[in-house]
Amino acid sequence: MSPEIQLAGIHPRSEKLIELTRSYERAGTSWSQVEVQFEQETRELIKLQKSLGFDHISDGALGWQDQLRTVARSLRGVESGTRYSRWFDTNTFYQKPIVAGKISAGEIDPKNFLQTRLLAGEKNRKIILPGPYTFSQLSENKYYEKYPDLLFDVAVAEREIIRRLRNEGVSLFQLSEPCLVYQPYRETFRGESEVELALRAIRSVVENNPGEFVIQTYFGDAAPIFSKLVDLPVHGIGIDLFETDVSSLSRQTSKTLVLGVVDSRESYVEDPHWIADTARKFRKQVDVQDLVFASNSDLKFVPQGIANQKLEALSKASELFEGSR
């Protein structure tokens, strides 16, 4: 079997949709016109995934304003706040969730999370959510005295969100945990105990929770915690090949590995032969049963045309990879 291909994050909006949303902000376009375009682009993206042979279909979260806000607005005890913070080292921003009370799942409207109506015909639906560790790390805590209490309350609330989304037919949940590996500054390097705490929180989300889970890391080197990641009771682990020191990975695992093998932050469209070759080298290093090809993070960092070309490159690479076996 050739490697599966998946979306690993928020997909970019087209120039047409961008212009409509800008016009809406200037009160030049009605929301219904914007909504029609959102729907049309979601349909096109679903069609594209199917034509490229994706097994799990995502709606691309085109309407998500940032990676955290949809979850933040579904939690009691969390306010959206007014502060915009930079999303890691990108030129994009997110509204910083403010933790002002005890966190629990609030009113969860699945329509805010995914386009259920447009995904109606799809059996295998994938959704991408921030993991509990990343969500809590990127929030401003004004309530909890102890960080672990905050972390585990986020985890419990996410279990409830996941339960609701499973009822909407979602079968694959990607929990994005860039904070596990993004460690750019030496003084804030995460200690082992903090990593253990984060992994325990992830465990508490996924253990005895039906559905498939992938823990996706990006913007940092997954090698230092790789052996711990593959011990998590999840279906798959995702790593960013543009940040990870593959030479220090050496391990046999029965987990599926999601290879972030196209760079969502560069416009250069990777050659499918290079992708397949890189994946082959990876498999020589790590004895892995199944591979998934994906971008290393949200493709929203490149224009839509480039993003779609990168998906096509992944699809071709998947065929080439199969041919080599």
Partner: protein, 401 residues
């Protein structure tokens, strides 16, 4: 003693509808009604003569020139009327925005399309398709209009080389690298791209500005705090020092909205920046909207101590007004939330300045400014914010008299 807490703007103002529309098509008298209203407020006495000229010209190029000149004059007068001590370049009316304006003037670069920044804000991202060089002067034509009309000191904001490179796709520079790992290729490509931008684009521009009389250049580097890795910070310092080498004008750095690590890393490297006379930084965005000069009320300004502790001895441009949408609560006396805008009260501005003075230790080193350019706010809101910064600085000044 020189005036304490002088006011400066940071760069942009929103572009009036008549300026935006007028660059695309001929205007009607109706289109200029908003300009007429503001002409009275800002004392643009020759508005009617200028309007006649704009309306009667059938030549697109002439109309564009006249509109750019007029909008620059408006921007300068808005700052001046609000009490700003340093006019800047009239709200950057002659630029598309900070990034695209430069990229369009760079040979070897192409704008690829829009990418998401936040909410419904996007930016047009460029890619290096070959070795870069300057195609034409970037800021000098604007500076020539500004010097004709400015009554006060002029500071020219320019987009810094590190930010230009960080916000672009490396394209050509990535493809030519031979390093084996994807990560090494990216690092090597960035350095080569950056040093080319410094030498081939930014330094020639600074040379032209200085030759035209510019005495203060603000280098906008919002991208720098997004890469706190030592290797990236050293690259930033190397590029900065190369940029300013041999020039004798005043240089300041403007940085805003850092990633989670805050300003801590920039503070560590700031003393290594040659000729960096001032750091103009965003703080109000991260602060509370209540009065007070205690640490908890002024939590947004705590990062200032990192700069002091690291030994940065220059001035600080203190962000005392928020420039983005505001949806929080405002305590009594601290300001007024109107729709999506917060108009900080003079008292809140005062408290921010006084708290910062406690950390910096010397009021002479502190300028008051908005967090960043005001391009996302209406002119009414921008004017109200700047006017209250002016009043707040006056209140702060009184405490030292």
């Amino acid at each position: 003693m020189s005036k304490l807490f002088p006011i400066q703007e940071i760069g942009s103002l929103a572009k009036p509808k008549w300026r935006t529309k007028g660059l695309r098509q001929p205007l009607s008298a109706q289109d200029l009604s908003e300009a007429e209203e503001w002409a009275q407020k800002l004392g643009i006495n020759d508005f009617h003569d200028r309007a006649k000229g704009i309306l009667k010209t059938s030549d697109d190029k002439t109309r564009t020139r006249e509109i750019l000149e007029l909008s620059t004059l408006y921007g300068l007068r808005l700052f001046e009327t609000a009490g700003v001590d340093n006019d800047g370049v009239g709200g950057e009316q002659q630029r598309v925005e900070m990034y695209e304006h430069v990229i369009k003037a760079v040979e070897g670069m192409n704008l690829l399309g829009h990418v998401h920044s936040f909410d419904y804000k996007y930016f047009n991202k460029g890619v290096a398709e070959s070795k870069v060089s300057r195609k034409r002067p970037i800021y000098t034509p604007e500076f020539s209009d500004v010097t004709r009309y400015a009554h006060r000191a002029v500071k020219v904001p320019i987009t810094g080389p590190y930010t230009l490179v960080d916000w672009s796709f490396s394209g050509y520079y990535i493809q030519k690298q031979r390093a084996s790992s994807p990560k090494s290729r990216k690092i090597e490509a960035k350095r080569e791209f950056l040093l080319d931008i410094v030498e081939q684009v930014i330094r020639p521009e600074i040379r032209d500005l200085v030759d035209a009389g510019a005495s203060w250049i603000q280098i906008d580097e919002p991208a720098v705090t997004t890469h706190p890795e030592p290797q990236e910070m050293e690259l930033f310092v190397e590029a900065w020092n190369e940029t300013v080498k041999g020039f004798s004008c005043k240089f300041s750095d403007h940085t805003c909205y850092p990633s989670e690590i805050g300003y801590k890393v920039l503070a560590e490297y700031a003393p290594k920046l040659d000729k960096c006379d001032q750091l103009a930084l965003e703080f109000a965005n991260r602060d509370t909207s209540r009065l007070g000069v205690d640490e908890s009320s002024r939590e947004g300004y705590s990062d200032l101590k990192h700069f002091v502790n690291a030994g940065f001895s220059g001035e600080f441009g203190l962000g005392v007004a928020h420039v983005h949408d505001f949806t929080g609560n405002v305590s009594s006396g601290a300001g007024q939330a109107i729709g999506r805008d917060l108009i900080e009260s003079p008292e809140l501005v005062r408290d921010r300045l006084l708290f910062a003075t406690k950390i910096v230790g010397d009021p002479v080193k502190i300028w008051a400014n908005p967090d960043c350019g005001l391009r996302t706010r209406t002119w009414d809101v921008s004017f109200a914010k700047l006017a209250n910064i002016t009043k707040g600085a006056e209140l702060a000044r009184e405490t030292f008299e």
